[in-house]
Symmetry: D2
Subunit: 161 residues, 4 copies
């Protein structure tokens, strides 16, 4: 069993960049989270995009889809900004034979207080236990992209009927 | 859906106690991990024991078992020291109708570098997704207590055949 | 002996704001740094401005100067963004009878890796030990504003002759 | 100007050691604190002892004294456990021509919440600004060893008359 992580950027991987008093997307944090958690499963992290999800366009989504389809692994986690996470998930729905879990975080992994390690715990467990399909892992829940929206005001994901 | 956490102590909840230049078991950290992770599921944390698992005796295990049996919730997480985590799990194996996930950590949740948040992400996901039974959540894996041992030298859990 | 901290914003106090996927200025962190450090001196923190120092204008500097002059305490620390820290310091140079130490940080105090606690240790010590005057506390040094520049490329302060 | 740090152990450098469910003394943390703080002064860290200060005996103190005397630098910081920090300081009082600052922490530098970075900021500033002599840097204050005691109940240092 091997888990492949495709990093696309988003809050999860942000660093604070003093020269511009601003943030930008740094290298993927998934690997250091796995080391800190002493995971013993086999994994591989690949950075395929470094963008805020608000800036991810149709072309980017085509690249993400292509990467997932061409990847030889069956268990795939995508780290992604939260703003358009649902949209990206929807474009992957019809991929067969792979368990795809999309996660991210509300606070960067490099902050003292962050939901990133916990969310990665959720995502790696979901990808191991669930059958083929596309899932979101946020706020401690496994969510169906077709019935999930981000509540921007409350900074959380919610199921809609 | 509500998750009940029974805290028994262990490394997970340790604080550093200056007056004795030593550690002892502090209040359960599960609640603050859940807050930091912005979980939206319903949960309740109860401290039932504050012990290193090396000091947990048969009487303590009887109390843990009783607490699990009498608890009204079906989804139960037990935070527990790693040294005798397997032994406690084995004593709960025949409890019916509940999904019981036992987790802990190799580094206290109050350390800068810790596996605690990630492990709680694994445990809360496993308890939601898995059928009734008793499971260990360590090192990013869901393990069967009957075939798992702690490798003390490598500080990790391993499956034996 | 009492230390007064005037917070003006800058990197030091930044929080990550998910709704805009951006950092902005949060409440002053000096107080929580002091609590974490178990300081036993008397202190008071007042937020007088919440700005990136690149956005601090002449009017803001007039306010800062007025606050310092009118403050009843002799030992004053100003937390300030690093980009125009020197400029603000220069406008305070002729204030008599007060020890004024200006500090900030290259990484927000809310990051896991930050120079903020250390810098506050430097600033509070300098303000206790030094005679009346205006000083910068950055990179572990006490610097004279008249001969100091920020090296933006290397993200550090340097003395020029 | 170069600062020499002599590390003797104590809470400051403690790590949590899972195999014994215990804390013990790890490698000195001063260097990583300096890196995190982007200090630009020259420094050197030397580990001369790895002990809880409660276990430091007369022989150890003779070694510490010898190290300080033989060291070529004038500015020396000693990281030390808090329990017998005052006693060690007293044995160095008559060393001439060196500024010696002894610091430590109530919480290990490897904890999420710790006074270690701040205390090192205080110590490095005191060692730069103060004349030859022996000083304690704790709780945000520069203290005279001859009139200072550790209040174990309140976990802080206090001046006595």
């Amino acid at each position: 069993m091997k888990i492949k992580v495709l990093a696309t950027g988003g809050t999860f991987d942000k660093i604070y960049y003093d020269a511009k008093s601003d943030f930008h997307i740094g290298d993927p944090m998934s690997g250091s989270i796995f080391e800190e958690a002493n995971v013993t499963f086999d994994y591989e992290v690949e950075s395929i995009l470094k963008k805020d999800s608000i800036d991810i366009n149709d072309e980017d989504r085509a690249i993400i889809r292509q990467k997932v389809e061409q990847d030889s692994h069956e268990k795939i986690i995508i780290t992604h900004g939260t703003d358009t996470m649902v949209k990206t998930a929807m474009q992957l729905m019809d991929i067969k034979g792979k368990t795809i879990v999309i996660t991210g975080s509300m606070q960067p992994a490099r902050m003292r207080i962050s939901d990133s390690s916990y969310n990665m715990g959720v995502a790696t467990t979901a990808v191991q236990l669930l059958p083929a399909g596309v899932y979101l892992a946020m706020n401690g829940l496994i969510l169906d992209p077709r019935t999930t929206v981000k509540n921007v005001t409350l900074s959380r994901f919610e199921e809609v009927s």
